[in-house]
């Protein structure tokens, strides 16, 4: 929701980033204020997922130009764990599995690590158990989630719920949801979306990275951005998503690419 006079959480200016020498982000600008929900849409290869990983600090991506400020603080100077502690949360498209490590153990370590960094009290295993069970209700998760190994043997929907559960525990300033809707059936999509909606408040902000308009029926964005070729090329309200659903991405991209001729060279084998 847009709140008048709310403060800026994320400010991205002219961000350029590459992976193994290939430039993916080519001057991206984005401002996100507290309370807002932003959707970033765009075709495959437009740089959406790269953008979320660059914000979170994945070491495979090199930032070559531009700036990223989180609540006025230079995010690019920080290693990924410190970005997380500062309030950046990324819900992964493909959460990793950690065999042999109980979910409860992992969740408590991440919770306590972040709490300590924020100068707050750690919870012992019993206190944490009560705390996490409360949060799990939000996502309609059964308690046996706690005893299972982290993400091991989880269905796609269970993995995504586990991601949102972590978001609920860590209470980030800025949550980036990378293709959270992919691989979810309708029920799971509803549960995950409800969870996200309950977590959204006037002090935090959400960035949803998605291919499809479907998710936005459940989590209604304040802004919809279209990415193409490493830049945001169009911004609108929630109605833009519907238009994209109806017309596809080509009309936006084509306009942005302007007169550049499409040359497809085919070499006969």
């Amino acid at each position: 929701m847009i709140y008048p006079g709310s403060k800026t959480i994320l400010e991205v200016r002219g961000l350029c980033a590459s992976v193994s020498g290939t430039e993916i982000l080519k001057g991206l600008d984005l401002t996100v204020k507290s309370g807002e929900v932003h959707a970033i849409m765009g075709p495959n290869g437009s740089g959406k997922s790269t953008f979320s990983k660059v914000l979170a600090g994945h070491s495979a991506y090199q930032v070559t130009a531009g700036s990223v400020l989180l609540e006025g603080k230079n995010l690019l100077d920080l290693p990924p764990e410190e970005r997380a502690r500062a309030g950046v949360f990324l819900a992964f498209q493909y959460p990793i599995e950690i065999p042999g490590v109980a979910n409860s153990q992992f969740l408590r370590l991440t919770y306590n690590t972040v709490q300590t960094q924020r100068g707050k009290e750690e919870l012992d295993p019993l206190e944490f158990d009560d705390f996490v069970r409360e949060k799990m209700k939000l996502l309609e998760m059964s308690p046996d989630f706690l005893d299972r190994s982290v993400n091991e043997g989880f269905s796609g929907g269970e993995k995504k719920r586990n991601e949102i559960l972590q978001m609920a525990l860590l209470e980030p300033r800025l949550a980036i949801l990378d293709e959270t809707d992919s691989g979810l059936d309708i029920d799971a999509l509803r549960i995950v979306s409800q969870g996200v909606n309950k977590l959204a408040n006037k002090d935090n902000a959400m960035v949803l990275v998605t291919h499809y308009q479907r998710l936005l029926n459940y989590i209604v964005p304040d802004f919809v951005h279209v990415m193409d070729d490493g830049r945001i090329v169009k911004t609108g309200g929630k109605e833009l998503a519907l238009e994209l659903e109806a017309r596809g991405y080509d009309w936006v991209g084509a306009k942005h690419r302007g007169a550049a001729p499409k040359v497809v060279a085919k070499v006969a084998a």
Binding site: E81, R85, P95, V101, V114
Partner: protein, 478 residues
Amino acid sequence: MSAVLQNLVNQPYKHGFVTDIESDVAPKGLSEDTIRMISAKKNEPEWLLEFRLKAYQQWLKMTEPTWPNVKYPKIDFQAISYYAAPKQKPKLKSMDEVDPELLRTFEKLGVPMHERAVLAGVAVDVIFDSVSVATTYKHKLAEVGIIFGSFSEAVHEHPELVKKYLGTVVPVGDNYYAALNSAVFTDGSFCFIPKGVKCPMDLSTYFRINTQESGQFERTLIIAEEGASVSYLEGCTAPRFDTNQLHAAVVELIALDNADIKYSTVQNWYAGDENGIGGIFNFVTKRGLAKGVNSRISWTQVETGSAITWKYPSVVLQGENSVGEFYSVAVTNHHQQADTGTKMIHLGKNTRSTIVSKGISAGHSNNSYRGLVKIAPTAAGARNYSQCDSMLIGDQSGAHTFPYIQVRNNSAKVEHEASTSKIGEDQLFYFAQRGIDAEAAVSMIINGFCKDVFQQLPLEFAVEASNLLSFKLEGSIG
């Protein structure tokens, strides 16, 4: 590998110091005379000298095995000294007479030689180079009829037991290194749990190699009579030298009817430096004979040290309904090589075995699991379950699995599962994104990976093993 990973894996070895102690070291070289010299030094009975000479004759006819997946320069067996012992009074009356320098050495290693010390409740036999220097709680154990102490003492005090069981599980000509050990072994631990006795405390042997040019050839013999049970722990360290030392031990376990032997090892021999210079060649034969009905032998090993590890703690399941278990974590880093696993030989009816092997390879190391499950025609209803998991850290290391399965009885059931995983940037990024740094992440991933094995270890050993692994792999991830 990223810098964080590098730093994590590349922690220095903290047991690498040398004790400055006057030692009695035999001249280098191996011959019948060397063997007679060792036997004479230990004032051994004639039958034991014959045992040694027979082994030596067999060894001369054998060749070094070349099938393990390890590479090393040819060992010059004439360049090794086969006996090294700290000079001390011939007979110690109490722990107070142990050379204070030795006491300090073991204190530094965290091994208590005073019975009042930290690990109270664990009886320890301490082997320094070629000899046993101290055994704690000996008298208390004797009250319930348990014999625990150095092998040399047992030869003099209980020759009938030693003679009855020595070489019955690992015959003198079993393999190249077992034959060498049988010829030149100098000391080790002996343990006898009489009928019906449950050993009231964990027994433990601590092995320390101190001399640069000596090998360590110790012999351990554990016998659990009918209905007896014992939990046995073994730890090992060695100083940092830029040459390789040979460690060729033989361990024999015998479990009679309804007896239970649990043998746990945390092996942390010096592994060589980051370029693969120095380190221990750990060529060890360990085998248990589950001789009686319902007997059980369980091996748990955490192998983190040595330049090369070649060992296959095995169980011969002879008694009906006997059980064999092998739980292993083998960690290699830098240029370490490990070829380790087990053999489960099912002879008796309804015998059961479980194999859980976890291999972790970092740096340029190579880690192989090699295991044999053999079901004899007599082993009706035998069952085996094997699980072999490998974890790679970075992209220069190797993991290999060589399972051999021979089934000669149709009623047997054999299962084998294997997996390979990798700790890479993406795993660490996931943890980092949750605020967890690389060190804590690796420790958590590794502990999760090894959980099935660690939970088999006695508590204090499990904590040590877990710390050792974190320490060992510090800097290997990033």
